[in-house]
């Protein structure tokens, strides 16, 4: 029995405990501890479906096999990343370590999309640390014009969402844009002052 029903965007908050989902997974071991070793089969199956023709079918045992393979992949890469951190006397595995390990183990093709993904994530993180929600919506309209002229990259425009376009600021640094000097057309000083005054909404993930 799975401890998680299938949802499109299941987050960490949803797979605690074991809800009464009537999903039948492996016929043998059905306890939750066993399933904690794998990613949910529904999610795995959904991703698999994306790359086969629409009239193709996927057997349940192949989904289970891929499930196991993914867990092994995670362990494999994590092990390498962990070794690297140990060698460099760091305690925390970060995203760059993962990407490094993935490259080292032969999955170089993944690196491009992953770096893009990670940089977007860090952008949002940097914004969240410095910009309260009210400020975001106000600044959003101001900066949208500069944003579009400034960026020729095909990174999705976060301005269309809750987060404001001060990604311009955070782009120059990892997480703390307020420390960076800026050479942007608009006046960053005003923004920085506003940012620093209201840093009370820091709800980032931080370290797990």
């Amino acid at each position: 029995m799975e401890d998680e029903t299938s949802h499109e965007n299941v987050t960490q908050g949803h797979n605690k405990g074991s809800p009464d989902s009537p999903c039948a997974k492996t016929g043998g071991t059905g306890n939750n501890k066993e399933q904690d070793r794998f990613l949910p089969i529904a999610n795995v199956g959904r991703i698999m479906k994306k790359v086969i023709p629409s009239n193709g079918k996927i057997s349940k045992d192949s989904k289970e096999t891929v499930q196991e393979c993914v867990s092994e992949f995670i362990s494999f890469v994590t092990g390498e990343a962990s070794d690297k951190c140990q060698r460099e006397k760091r305690k925390t595995i970060n995203g760059d370590d993962i990407i490094w390990a993935i490259t080292t183990l032969g999955f170089e093709e993944y690196v491009g999309p992953l770096k893009l993904y990670l940089s977007k994530y860090r952008e949002i993180e940097g914004e969240k640390l410095n910009i309260p929600k009210q400020q975001r919506s106000e600044q959003k309209q101001q900066h949208q014009l500069q944003q579009q002229s400034k960026h020729e990259q095909n990174i999705p425009n976060f301005n269309s969402s809750v987060y404001s376009s001060t990604s311009l600021l955070s782009r120059h640094s990892s997480f703390v844009p307020s420390d960076q000097p800026f050479s942007l057309p608009f006046s960053p000083n005003n923004i920085q002052k506003q940012l620093q005054q209201q840093q009370d909404q820091i709800d980032s993930v931080g370290y797990w």
Binding site: M48, I52, I58, E68, S75, G95, Y117, L118, V162
Partner: protein
């Protein structure tokens, strides 16, 4: 713990859907990471995020290769043997060879010692 709303932009595909939502549960990924070794203690918040994407790419690649085997057999249902064949045929998936050759047996403890894989 984290609030789901914090990442609703990413998770629900609110970022114009181009990055796509996180298809895989981050806490589960983190659990699996921690189980990979005694040395794994601290994991940054972004690691499961990176893995979420990496696993998606991995699943897609593995499935594509498996599907090619399915098609060679003129079938329309991807089964476990197709996955095993794809693993055997791909050097990149050498670390999975033991896993797929255990078909039909109970899941035995796998070697987590990655030093053997290099």
């Amino acid at each position: 713990m984290r609030q789901a709303g914090t990442y609703s932009g990413i998770l629900s595909g609110g970022i114009s859907g181009k990055t796509g939502p996180h298809l895989l549960p981050l806490a589960r990924i983190k659990k699996i990471m921690k189980k990979s070794g005694e040395d794994v203690k601290m994991i940054s918040g972004e690691s499961p995020i990176v893995f979420s994407k990496a696993c998606e790419l991995f699943i897609k690649e593995l499935t594509q290769r498996s599907w090619m085997v399915t098609m060679q057999g003129k079938r329309r249902t991807l089964n476990k043997e197709d996955v095993a064949s794809a693993v055997m045929a791909t050097d990149l998936f050498d670390f999975l060879v033991n896993l797929v050759s255990e078909s039909g047996e109970a899941t035995t403890p796998l070697e987590m010692d990655t030093s053997n894989y290099s």
